[in-house]
C-alpha cells in the first residue's frame, strides 16, 4: 500500500540529505560516522515527557491568519501522521529539518545549485590558508536569537565542538569530528578552525546549507553543559518558552501529529540590521503530513494546499491537467520537474556469485531498455542517466570530457545481441527455461529497491527476464540492511553526492568501503581496486580548479566504466506541483533562484522570495 512507497520516498529524500553528510565527510578523507542512527541516544530514557506534544494549542491561543497569507504544504511523516512531533532539537534522534523547521535554521552560507551559488547569511565571508589546513570565518554583526540573545562566533564554535565531542552519536557529527582539530572564537565575530590536514571541501560540505546537507547551528546558552546522550533525547519544544529558539524570521506555534503551525516572527534581526529590507510575506506556514498521492493531489487541485511532496511521473500530469493554477519546475509541460542530485543505477555486489564478473554486469546493463522505462513507466517524464552523477552546470565540463569514454563504454545501450555475446564470453549458456546459467548455476537476479522505484522496478524485472535473467523486483522492509550487508546480488539505488565536482560520488567506490559479505558497509558495491583507490586518493587533496584534476577524473572513470561498477539508469526528477492561486514566485526553470524542494535547508530562500497573489 501507499505508505510503504511513501515511507521510502521520504527515506530517500532523507537519504539524499544524510548521505551527503557521510559523503562529504568522506571527501575530507575521514572515516568517522556521519549520522547517528534513529534509535539513537543511549541517554537515560527516563526523561520523555509524554503527553506534552500531543496537546494542540488551545484554540484561543492561536491567532487566525487569512488563507491568502498562509503557505500550506503537505510533506513528511508517515501518511496522515508526523513522527517527529515535538522534537524541536535538530540533533534529537528522530528529528528532521524537512518538515518546515528549515524556516527556523539559518546557516553561515546558503548554496543555491540553481541560483547564484554561495550566499553569505550569518557569515559575511570565509578564508582558507594556502594548504587548506586552516579556515577563518567572519560572522555577521547584529544577528540575534529569537530570545534576544546575540548570535556570535561562540555559538558557531560551541556547535562545532559539540559535534566533535558528540561523534558518532549526534547526527552530522562525524564529518566535523574527522576534519576539525580545533575551533576557537578569536572574537565575537571571528571563528578560527584548524583542520586535521588539508580539507579543501569542508567549508562547502558542512558549513553551507544546500539540499539536505550542512550542520545546524545551536544556541550555546541553551545547549551548554549537555552531554551527547542528553542532547539526542532533548526535545526542545515548548511554545511557552519560545523553544526552539531560531535566528530565522519564524517560530513554531503549534505542533501535533497531524499539523505543524509556523508563524512569522516580527522581531527578526535582519530587518533591524537592514540585511533584509522587509519581513517575508508569508505570515504562517502550515504543514500537514503527507498522505496517499491521491489525497495530496486532490487537495492541491482544490487549492486547499499550495505545494506538496514531489509526485510520480505518472501522477504529475494528471494533477497539472486538473487545475490551471498548478505549475511545476518546467511550467505545465514535460518533464514537469527538475533534476535531483540522485541519479539511480542498478547496483552490483562485486563479491556475489555471477555479479563479480564484469561481463555479467555489462550484460545486465545491455538488457535494460532505458528509453522504454522512461516511456512506459514514467510516461515520458524522465531522463536517462549515463553517469552516476547529475548533469548540473558545474558538472557539465566533466560530462563533456567523458564523451569519448562513453562512446567506447556506452552505459545506455540496449542490445540483446551484446547480452548474449558477453554472457557466452564468460561461459554462460541458456538453460531449458531460457535463463542464463553456468555450471548448473542459474543467474538468479531478484533485485530490491526502495518503493519509490515501484514504477520502473517491475519493468526492469521484465526486461531482464526477456534477456534471460531470472529477475524479480521486491521492496523488502529491510532493503537498507540487505544493501549494506551484501545479501543482495543486485539492487536499485541512487547516488546522492556530487554537486560541484565529481570526486564525492567516485569516492563511493574506493576500497575503504569494502567489507566482506555479511559485514555492513555504507557504500556497498564491495568494489575493491587499488589502482582506482590510488587515483581517488590523489583527487581528495587536489582542488578541482587545478588542470591535473580533470586527468585524474578521466583515468578513474575509465576504470569505473570498464568494470561497470554499477549500471546508470535514470536521472532522478523532483516533480513538485506548486499552486499559484495564493502565491507567486515559486522557484521554476524560468525563475531559477533555488531548487524547488521546500523541505531542503534552502527553504528560507523561497520564503524570502515568494509574493502573495491576492489581497
Amino acid at each position: 500500500m501507499q505508505e510503504q512507497k511513501k515511507l521510502n520516498r521520504r527515506d530517500f529524500l532523507r537519504l539524499s540529505g544524510i548521505a551527503s553528510a557521510g559523503v562529504l565527510a568522506a571527501a575530507c578523507g575521514a572515516t568517522a560516522p556521519a549520522e547517528a542512527p534513529a534509535a539513537g541516544g543511549a541517554a537515560a530514557p527516563a526523561a520523555a515527557p509524554a503527553a506534552a506534544v500531543e496537546a494542540p494549542a488551545a484554540s484561543g491561543a492561536l491567532k487566525e491568519v487569512a488563507r491568502e497569507k498562509s503557505l500550506i504544504l503537505m510533506f513528511g511523516g508517515q501518511p496522515g501522521q508526523f513522527e517527529d512531533t515535538g522534537l524541536g532539537n535538530p540533533y534529537a534522534t528522530g528529528a528532521t529539518h524537512q518538515i518546515g523547521s528549515a524556516a527556523l535554521w539559518e546557516p553561515l552560507f546558503f548554496y543555491s545549485a540553481y541560483g547564484e551559488g554561495e550566499i553569505p547569511w550569518l557569515a559575511t565571508g570565509y578564508e582558507y590558508n594556502e594548504d587548506f589546513t586552516e579556515l577563518t570565518i567572519s560572522i555577521r554583526d547584529g544577528v540575534e536569537w529569537s530570545d534576544g540573545t546575540p548570535f556570535t562566533a561562540k555559538d558557531v564554535v560551541f556547535t562545532l565542538n559539540m559535534l566533535k565531542d558528540g561523534a558518532p552519536l549526534l547526527s552530522r557529527s562525524q564529518a566535523t569530528a574527522a576534519a576539525v582539530a580545533s575551533a576557537t572564537a578569536v572574537d565575537d565575530l571571528t571563528v578560527q578552525i584548524v583542520m586535521n590536514g588539508p580539507r579543501p571541501r569542508y567549508m562547502f560540505n558542512q558549513l553551507m546549507s544546500k539540499f539536505d546537507t550542512g550542520i545546524y547551528l545551536v544556541p550555546e546558552h541553551i545547549y551548554a553543559g549537555k552531554t551527547p546522550d542528553e542532547i539526542v533525547s532533548f526535545e526542545y519544544y515548548d511554545p511557552e518558552k519560545n523553544w526552539p529558539l531560531s535566528t530565522g524570521p519564524y517560530k513554531i506555534v503549534a505542533w501535533n501529529t497531524t499539523q505543524k503551525f509556523i508563524d512569522r516572527r516580527d522581531d527578526w534581526w535582519a530587518v533591524k540590521t537592514g540585511f533584509m529590507g522587509e519581513l517575508p510575506a508569508i505570515e504562517r506556514i502550515v504543514i500537514a503530513p503527507r498522505a496517499d498521492d491521491s489525497i495530496m493531489t486532490q487537495r492541491i487541485i482544490n487549492n486547499e494546499v499550495d505545494s506538496i511532496l514531489d509526485l510520480r511521473a505518472t501522477t504529475i500530469a494528471a494533477t497539472v491537467s486538473q487545475n490551471p493554477a498548478i505549475i511545476t519546475h518546467t511550467g505545465r509541460e514535460l518533464p514537469y520537474g527538475y533534476m535531483d542530485w540522485w541519479p539511480s543505477s542498478m547496483w552490483f555486489n562485486h563479491d556475489a556469485e555471477h555479479f563479480s564478473d564484469k561481463n555479467v554486469r555489462w550484460a545486465i546493463s545491455y538488457a535494460i531498455d532505458r528509453q522504454q522505462l522512461i516511456d512506459v513507466a514514467l510516461e515520458g517524464s524522465g531522463m536517462v542517466a549515463s553517469l552516476p552523477f547529475p548533469e548540473y552546470p558545474p558538472l557539465l565540463p566533466y560530462y563533456e570530457a567523458a564523451k569519448p569514454l562513453l562512446e567506447k563504454y556506452n552505459t545506455n545501450e540496449y542490445n540483446l545481441d551484446k547480452v548474449a555475446e558477453r554472457m557466452t564470453a564468460s561461459g554462460y549458456e541458456k538453460d531449458a527455461d531460457g535463463f542464463w546459467a553456468k555450471d548448473g548455476s542459474r543467474v538468479l537476479a531478484p533485485f530490491g529497491g526502495w518503493s519509490v522505484f515501484n514504477d520502473i522496478g517491475p519493468i526492469v524485472a521484465e526486461q531482464l527476464r526477456k534477456a534471460g535473467f531470472e529477475a524479480d523486483y521486491t521492496t523488502p522492509a529491510d532493503h537498507g540492511t540487505r544493501m549494506s550487508d551484501g545479501s543482495y546480488g543486485l539492487w536499485l539505488n541512487g547516488h546522492g553526492g556530487t554537486i560541484r565536482d565529481p570526486f564525492t560520488t567516485l569516492d563511493f567506490y574506493t576500497g575503504k568501503y569494502y567489507a566482506p559479505i555479511g559485514e555492513p558497509t555504507a557504500q556497498s558495491s564491495r568494489y575493491n581496486n587499488p589502482e582506482y583507490d590510488a587515483i581517488l586518493e590523489e583527487m581528495a587533496t587536489t582542488p578541482s580548479d587545478q588542470p591535473k584534476y580533470m586527468d585524474l577524473f578521466l583515468s578513474a572513470l575509465e576504470i569505473w566504466l570498464d568494470d561497470l561498477v554499477d549500471a546508470p539508469i535514470q536521472q532522478w526528477m523532483h516533480r513538485i506541483p506548486m499552486n499559484t492561486t495564493y502565491w507567486s514566485d515559486w522557484p521554476t526553470a524560468d525563475n531559477s533562484y533555488v531548487n524547488g524542494s521546500f523541505w531542503h535547508l534552502t527553504f528560507p530562500l523561497m520564503l524570502h522570495r515568494m509574493k502573495p497573489t491576492q489581497g
Binding site: 500500500m1 534509535a39 520523555a48 494542540p56 534522534t93 562525524q174 539526542v232 489525497i295 549494506s484
Partner: protein
C-alpha cells in the same frame, strides 16, 4: 452473588494465562528469525545515512546493552515480563525518544472514535435488518430485497472503501479523499471542527458499516428463526398478541441476548482497528501506526500495539463472561 469463588479464580487465572502466553508469543516471534530487530534498525538508519561508521559493531553492542539484548535469553524474558507487568512498553525505535505509549496514544483516539461509532451503527442496523428478514409478517421487500444488502458483508471493507473513494471523492468530488480533518483547520472544540471531523469520517465509516452490517443481520436472523420456533411464540400468537408486539416483545427481545454479547465482543475489537481501511483512507488511527511500524521494522511499536490489543481483548472477554449471568438469568457460575 452469582459467581463462586472458584469460578472467579479460574477465570482470572485464565485471563492471566492468556495474557502471559500472548506476551510470550510476542517475545518469541522476533527472536526466532535470524535478524536482530535492533541491529536491523540501526543498520537501516546507518546505511540510509550513507555511511556505516567504523565502530558500528561497538555501537550496536552499546545499544544492545542499553536495551538489555546482550543478556542471556531467559534474563531478557524475565525483564520483558516485568516490563509488561508494569505496562512499560519501552521506546519506539523509529521515533526515539518517544515511548511506545506515546505513539499508541497518538493513534488511539481516532481509531476508537471511528470504530466504536461504526460498530454501534452496524450493530443497530444489522440487528434490525436481521430481525425483519426473519419475521414472517414482513413485506416481500424486506424479506427478499434487503438480503441483497448482506452481500456487502461479504466484501472486505477496504475494497468497499476504495470504491467509495472513487465515486464520492474522485468522480463526484463531494467528500474529502481522506485524512482526519482539514489541513489548515485549527483543532478546537468547536462545532465547525467537529463537523469537519464528521465529514472526513463519512467514507471510512460508510465502508465499515456496509461491510459489517451483514454479519449482524445474519446472526440476528438466525436467532429470530430459532425464537420463532419456540412454543411461547406460538402460544402468544394464539393468544392474539398484536403483531408488532409479538415481533418486538416476544421475538426481538429474546433473540437479542447473543447479539448484545456479540456487540460487547465486537466493541473490544475496536482497539485493533481496521488497518486496511485506515490505510486506504489515510486515517490517522492506530491501524496506520501499526502499518508504519511494520514498514519501518519498529518491532517495539508492533509488539506494543499487539500487546495492548491482546490486553484489551482478554479483559473485555472476562468482563463479558462476568456480565453473562446478569444478562441471562439461565446462566450461573455457582458451584463447580
Amino acid at each position: 452473588m452469582r459467581y463462586s469463588k472458584q469460578y472467579l479464580l479460574r477465570r482470572v487465572g485464565l485471563l492471566l494465562l492468556i495474557i502471559w502466553s500472548a506476551a510470550t508469543f510476542n517475545f518469541i516471534i522476533p527472536r526466532i528469525t535470524p535478524r536482530n530487530p535492533l541491529r536491523e534498525k540501526l543498520l537501516q538508519e546507518a546505511s540510509r545515512s550513507g555511511y556505516i561508521p567504523i565502530g558500528f559493531d561497538e555501537m550496536v553492542a552499546a545499544y544492545e546493552t542499553k536495551f538489555g539484548l546482550d543478556l542471556p535469553i531467559w534474563r531478557q524474558y524475565i525483564n520483558y515480563l516485568g516490563d509488561m507487568a508494569r505496562l512499560d512498553l519501552g521506546f519506539s525505535i523509529a521515533s526515539y525518544p518517544k515511548t511506545v505509549w506515546q505513539v499508541i496514544l497518538e493513534g488511539l483516539p481516532w481509531t476508537i472514535g471511528l470504530l466504536a461509532v461504526t460498530t454501534i451503527i452496524a450493530f443497530a442496523l444489522g440487528t434490525l435488518l436481521g430481525a425483519l428478514m426473519a419475521w414472517q409478517n414482513s413485506g416481500p421487500f424486506v424479506r427478499y430485497v434487503m438480503p441483497s444488502i448482506l452481500i456487502f458483508g461479504a466484501i472486505p471493507a477496504y475494497v468497499i472503501a476504495l470504491s467509495l473513494v472513487y465515486f464520492f471523492a474522485f468522480r463526484l468530488k463531494i467528500l474529502p479523499t481522506g485524512g482526519g480533518y482539514g489541513i489548515s483547520t485549527i483543532p478546537a472544540l468547536s462545532i465547525p471542527f467537529i463537523l469537519e471531523i464528521l465529514k472526513h469520517s463519512i467514507l471510512p465509516a460508510l465502508a465499515l458499516v456496509l461491510a459489517r452490517t451483514g454479519g449482524w443481520a445474519l446472526g440476528m436472523r438466525g436467532m429470530m428463526v430459532t425464537v420463532e420456533g419456540e412454543d411461547y411464540m406460538t402460544f402468544a400468537e394464539a393468544k392474539g398478541v398484536k403483531d408488532w408486539r409479538l415481533f418486538y416483545k416476544y421475538g426481538v427481545r429474546n433473540a437479542l441476548l447473543p447479539q448484545v454479547t456479540g456487540l460487547a465482543l465486537a466493541l473490544s475489537f475496536v482497539v485493533s482497528g481496521a488497518v486496511l481501511v485506515e490505510l486506504v483512507m489515510g486515517y490517522p488511527g492506530l491501524g496506520t501506526k501499526l502499518a508504519q511500524a511494520v514498514t519501518q521494522l519498529d518491532y517495539f511499536v508492533i509488539q506494543g500495539i499487539v500487546f495492548v490489543i491482546i490486553l484489551t481483548l482478554a479483559i473485555a472477554m472476562l468482563v463479558i463472561d462476568l456480565l453473562y449471568p446478569l444478562l441471562d438469568p439461565r446462566i450461573s457460575y455457582e458451584g463447580g
